[in-house]
């Protein structure tokens, strides 16, 4: 029983973090119908930025994540503005391939710069843990979880309450109409992608504080993002939070009861089942215009 409780707590904490990994991916997909296969590589890039700042400048990752986010925002903005915008109206093979090419480039670039070795961002609090009865709560994971939830809430507020956020929403719902209202779609798309990259960087820095990472993990973060975005309904940010928690729990429980690497298959199992049974996600209908295109 206590093992189950421990797994549940761990799963929830991990799930919050996964939600933060996925929320930017979901935003980009919902607003511009681009499945960004480079999203996982942005997460890992964020982790390396956090690591660099901590190792070479002694900056705590809780501060460093903001710097990493700023850098990734600029990079994300530029990638969308001068690259993805060029093919945003093309059939989906094209955007999938483009972002996959981008991912190859970034992952291999990181391999060359940082090597393929596993690293982690070590902090004083990561190894501390709180005891609540028989359940142990690692402080580092609790902090990462808290930040994940805060950032998701802040993102929802940003999107729903600010001019920029409303411009993003409007463009996502109907780009043509938004353009007629004087919203510059190119700029808004670039902002959205930049925002998504910044969120990935924060998530990456947090991943780095609680776990080891290497460039090779990029692919699995992209896939998890996809699973979570689908579970939550694309573009639905609270949905992403829910999807993240669910995947965290499923993986954690599976780790408790299943042997070997079956755990890795769980997320995909959930994905395929959900897609076949309930393609619009767990949380009702898609939040944005659900454009299903070929």
């Amino acid at each position: 029983m206590s093992a189950f409780l421990q797994a549940t707590v761990y799963g929830l904490l991990q799930g919050g973090l996964l939600a933060l990994v996925a929320v930017g991916f979901s935003l980009v997909w919902g607003v511009m119908n681009v499945v960004n296969l480079a999203h996982g590589s942005f997460v890992i890039m964020g982790a390396y930025l956090g690591w660099e700042l901590q190792v070479h400048a002694g900056i705590d990752p809780l501060l460093g994540m903001f710097a990493a986010a700023a850098v990734m925002f600029v990079l994300g903005y530029a990638i969308q503005r001068w690259l993805i915008n060029l093919v945003v109206n093309a059939p989906i093979f094209i955007t999938l391939l483009l972002t996959f090419g981008l991912s190859l480039l970034i992952v291999q670039g990181m391999n060359i710069i940082f090597s393929a070795n596993y690293r982690s961002i070590s902090t004083g609090y990561a190894s501390t843990s709180l005891s609540m009865g028989s359940v142990r709560v690692p402080l580092g994971r609790l902090i990462a979880f808290g930040i994940a939830v805060l950032v998701t809430v802040a993102l929802v507020a940003l999107v729903n309450r600010t001019r920029i956020g409303l411009a993003i929403l409007a463009t996502g719902m109907d780009r043509g109409a938004a353009r007629l209202m004087g919203i510059p779609a190119r700029h808004v798309y670039s902002l959205t992608f930049g925002l998504s990259a910044a969120l990935a960087a924060i998530a990456g820095t947090m991943v780095g504080t609680v776990d080891t990472f290497s460039p090779a993990a990029a692919g699995s973060f992209t896939l998890l993002s996809f699973v979570i975005a689908v579970l939550g309904g694309l573009g639905n940010m609270y949905g992403a939070l829910l999807g993240g928690l669910l995947i965290g729990l499923v993986e954690s429980w599976a780790g408790l009861y299943l042997s070997g690497t079956w755990v890795n298959a769980m997320a995909f199992l959930v994905l395929v089942v959900v897609l076949v049974v309930r393609p619009s996600g767990l949380v009702g209908r898609a939040y944005y215009a659900a454009r299903v295109e070929v």
Partner: protein, 346 residues
């Protein structure tokens, strides 16, 4: 919405009768000529070159297989490698546990992959666009874990060895020359299948589904049956290639047989060459695999990096693929690549 390039009057030729009969036969003639040339080429190659060309044959077959579901039917399968893995493991497992000859295991693997395609195709082909792409990707990743986690059957992560030497050998290893011919045969088979589909009723139905599935259904095409059949054929061809690959490699691992990068290579080759045509994926596979081998030798470390850059440049400047680009440019007289970029940009 998919943007399909301009009308291609393929059937008009047949309607106008014998006048253009030679044009109908031309691809078949060229294919036969190509095969003869490849057979002649073999004796001229060093061992290293022979291996390179063998690998090119393998990718010609894979690209053409993906073309059937992705190019003709318009369903972006991002888990195509699952058929490769199933074909490879079906061969290895039946050769090890049932002591089958490779020549029996090979067709069995093809049938197995085709059946698997039908079984997952029925639910998954109801999904469209990104959802289909990623659901198939999920199936491939999941299948890799399944294969990894039943070591009694598949050897698990430590791999499985195809019995080709010693007392257990069911079929002797073919050697470089043998595999050259084997993969040439598979490449020829996939080209023939693609060529037949591109010109018959079934291919016409697939094109209709690609261009507007609702309208295709309303005009009497059983879209479910056509899609599942296309997926099965595509899976069968991919499975056959996987079977040959397993035999060639002798020791196979789940991580290699279910490597997502293999899927992406198929997609890239088809898209860059020109999806939905027969010539495009052929050129894409030959060109990209040759380039890839060259990069691997010359820039070992940065090889993937350069490949990524090439993909990006290619999809931005040639989004409709090389063959379709040439076709349109010849019709309109406009060879500008910038016009291409303008087409899909925001």
């Amino acid at each position: 919405m998919s943007t399909v390039t301009e009308a291609e009057p393929s059937f008009d030729r047949q309607a106008t009768g014998s006048r253009l009969d030679w044009q109908r036969m031309l691809p078949w003639g060229l294919l036969a000529l190509l095969m003869a040339a490849m057979l002649g080429l073999q004796s001229q190659l060093y061992i290293g070159q022979e291996r390179t060309v063998t690998a090119i044959f393998m990718f010609v077959a894979l690209a053409q297989a993906w073309n059937v579901i992705g190019g003709f039917t318009g369903y972006a399968c991002f888990g195509q490698v699952v058929f490769f893995g199933i074909g490879g493991y079906a061969t290895a497992v039946t050769m090890v546990h049932w002591h089958l000859s490779f020549w029996l295991a090979l067709p069995l693997s093809g049938v197995g992959a085709a059946l698997f395609g039908a079984v997952i195709g029925l639910p998954l082909l109801r999904l469209k666009g990104h959802y289909f792409a990623i659901a198939t990707l999920g199936v491939a990743e999941g299948m890799r874990e399944v294969v990894t986690n039943v070591p009694a059957l598949t050897g698990g992560g430590a791999g499985i060895t195809v019995p080709t030497v010693g007392e257990d050998a069911t079929t002797a290893y073919l050697g470089n020359d043998g595999f050259y011919l084997l993969f040439l045969g598979i490449a020829a088979l996939s080209l023939v299948v693609a060529l037949v589909i591109s010109r018959n009723r079934f291919g016409f139905a697939l094109r209709a589904i690609h261009q507007d599935e609702d309208a295709a259904g309303a005009m009497g095409i059983n879209t479910t049956r056509a899609k599942v059949l296309a997926f099965s054929i595509s899976g069968m061809l991919t499975g056959l290639v996987g079977a040959c690959y397993a035999f060639q490699q002798v020791v196979i691992f789940p991580d290699r047989l279910f490597d997502v990068e293999l899927t992406v290579l198929m997609v890239v080759m088809v898209v860059i060459g020109g999806s939905g045509t027969v010539l495009g994926p052929l050129l894409g596979a030959v060109g990209l695999q040759y380039l890839s081998e060259y990069l691997r030798h010359s820039y070992t470390e940065a090889h993937t990096f350069i490949l990524g850059a090439i993909i990006i440049v290619a999809v931005v400047f040639l989004p409709q693929g090389f063959v379709n680009y040439v076709r349109e440019a010849r019709r309109s007289g406009d060879y500008s690549l910038l016009a291409n970029v303008r087409r899909y940009r925001l």
